[in-house]
Assembly symmetry: C2
């Protein structure tokens, strides 16, 4: 029997567009392998959106071609359309999943936070690639989801195609995770790899920008904040760690001396920007931090180079498990959103 789920996509930037393309592309595979048909009911931007009440939703509307701007040239485009209107128009469609592909403020969590809250109040599941609403108000969102027996999934926000949350929560079920260490930011890892070849921090950053790896403003990445945010989300999901950003001391890579890094390499060591979280055995207390750390050859993250990401879980019964790789581009984030949707729809 074929199951169906309805999708409302908020945000039509690189991730939102990649997600729409992916769902179109994968439709036959999803139906064959998972018995699941996904219908786009609405796509929202800040200034309006599309909505369809037809049984097939917005599918087959050649969303592939639509850029963020192009969306407003679409025949169904309604300026000023917002989520509350869509909720009242589609109240009887269940299940519905809000796909959050917005870029919200890390200070306020908006606009994603209000969208997520409205969706959960309306009885919709939420999957998000937007970190900010979770950083600002994770406990409240989680409580709202639990109370309404809805899913709140965030693989796409935590480490995208690197399945950090799934491994911690699903693959290691029954084991107690005592420590997590991760290389969670591709840009800073690329820069450190370049510096270990003798290049300066400035040169390495310029190279990362030239290659499209670093954002025009790379401060979130190189100062360690992006790593801290991911660590926060992973820690909450996997270790029930009730942390906020103030609990995580953060040190970036900008002030590292290239000579020091080269010398480490000659000594057979490596240096990585590590996010670490541990549960103290004696007092059950959680400690977390982000800082550059020297690794010896036996360490599971020792040879994770370039733009690669990786994470190691230490457990009481399964030993240590390390997972590495996973695309960090918008298609990888879109694939993580799709995965969360499949887990909800199962």
């Amino acid at each position: 029997m074929i199951k169906t789920s309805n999708l409302v996509v908020a945000g039509f930037g690189r991730v939102g567009r990649a997600f729409s393309r992916l769902i179109e592309e994968k439709a036959p595979f999803l139906e064959k392998r998972y018995g699941l048909r996904l219908f786009f009911r609405a796509i929202l931007k800040s200034d309006g959106g599309l909505f369809s009440s037809s049984p097939v939703g917005l599918n087959k509307l050649d969303l592939n071609a639509a850029s963020s701007l192009g969306l407003s040239c679409h025949p169904l485009w309604t300026p000023g359309l917002n989520l509350s209107q869509i909720i009242s128009l589609s109240a009887r469609l269940t299940p519905t999943i809000l796909v959050l592909a917005t870029h919200s403020s890390l200070k306020t969590g908006e606009p994603g936070l209000s969208l997520a809250e409205k969706a959960l109040d309306a009885g919709w599941h939420v999957v998000t690639a937007d970190k900010a609403p979770l950083v600002v108000r994770f406990p409240a969102l989680e409580a709202k989801a639990n109370q309404n027996r809805l899913a709140l999934k965030f693989s796409g926000a935590a480490a995208a195609a690197l399945p950090a949350l799934d491994i911690g929560c699903y693959c290691l079920a029954g084991a107690e995770i005592t420590e997590i260490e991760g290389i969670l930011n591709g840009t800073s890892n690329f820069i450190l790899t370049e510096m270990s070849k003798g290049r300066s921090y400035k040169e390495s950053l310029a190279e990362a920008k030239a290659k499209g790896i670093a954002e025009p403003d790379p401060s979130l990445d190189v100062e360690g904040w992006d790593t801290a945010i991911k660590l926060l989300l992973i820690g909450r999901a996997v270790m029930d760690a009730n942390l906020s950003m103030e609990d995580i001391p953060v040190e970036g890579i900008a002030s590292l001396c290239p000579d020091f890094i080269v010398r480490l390499r000659l000594e057979g060591k490596s240096i990585k920007l590590i996010g670490r979280i541990e549960r103290k055995k004696d007092c059950n207390k959680i400690r977390a931090w982000v800082r550059p750390q020297v690794l010896e050859p036996g360490h599971p993250l020792y040879s994770v180079d370039g733009t690669n990401k990786a994470i190691t879980f230490w457990t009481d019964t399964m030993g240590s498990i390390t997972v590495s790789g996973g695309k960090s581009d918008p298609r990888g984030a879109a694939a993580a959103l799709l995965k969360d949707i499949l887990h909800i729809s199962h």
Copy 2:
């Protein structure tokens, strides 16, 4: 609300005993974290077993202390007790899960195969750390499980604490897996690592035996058969690959020349016993093989050394994902059995 599941354990060797100990040890954690209480209803060996109809089963019977021999000194020991009798004695206990920790023949699949078939016929789920029944009759067992809407789980047989099946089936949901490469046997990987330091095959094998890494008869490991079996199970679960052992050409490591391996190391390359399975894009055909393979530094399995295992999945949307580590001792296998039970009981 607390859920309960009933367990019948078949086989009380190292894995069966480690499993019993683990469940006793983890009882408070399982109840708190997963809301699950597990009751041992029976433990079976080839010559008899224990059965309890009391509400708490065999729990609290200090199974920790029981060795395989000790079991037959237990006050509840019943010589000749078998699974059919237990099924008729416990027909109304649902759900029940058969935990298969037997060591069955790779030729006939027995005794595990008959036990698994009987359990599925009785409406019990099956989790197994015993590979043989799956190698001999996977499609029939899977069909029986599906028909009766029961779970047949085999993390413990595929790669134990290395979560190869879960990653392929769950963490990569929605992605198409095009290739899998794995270092799936710790003994042969240890030997290759030693040989890369200039030691002979014989010396390295002796060292592995002295350290308790290699079995007294290591032929399954060093000739590649253990790798092929795991590859077969992972391929079936993850890529729907309908393979039998005859479809997998297997080449082991015993005839490798140490000089060659040392020269590779000096050239910055490594050699690993790789199990590989791929789906040809043009014809959708599956090909699989096991053989020593030279790896360049960029390869995700390049630096997996010693007794470590690892597996890489190549996908269409998430890039490549590599997972490594995971305990290979009986406690690791027991933890994999417990994980499968938690997934069934969820």
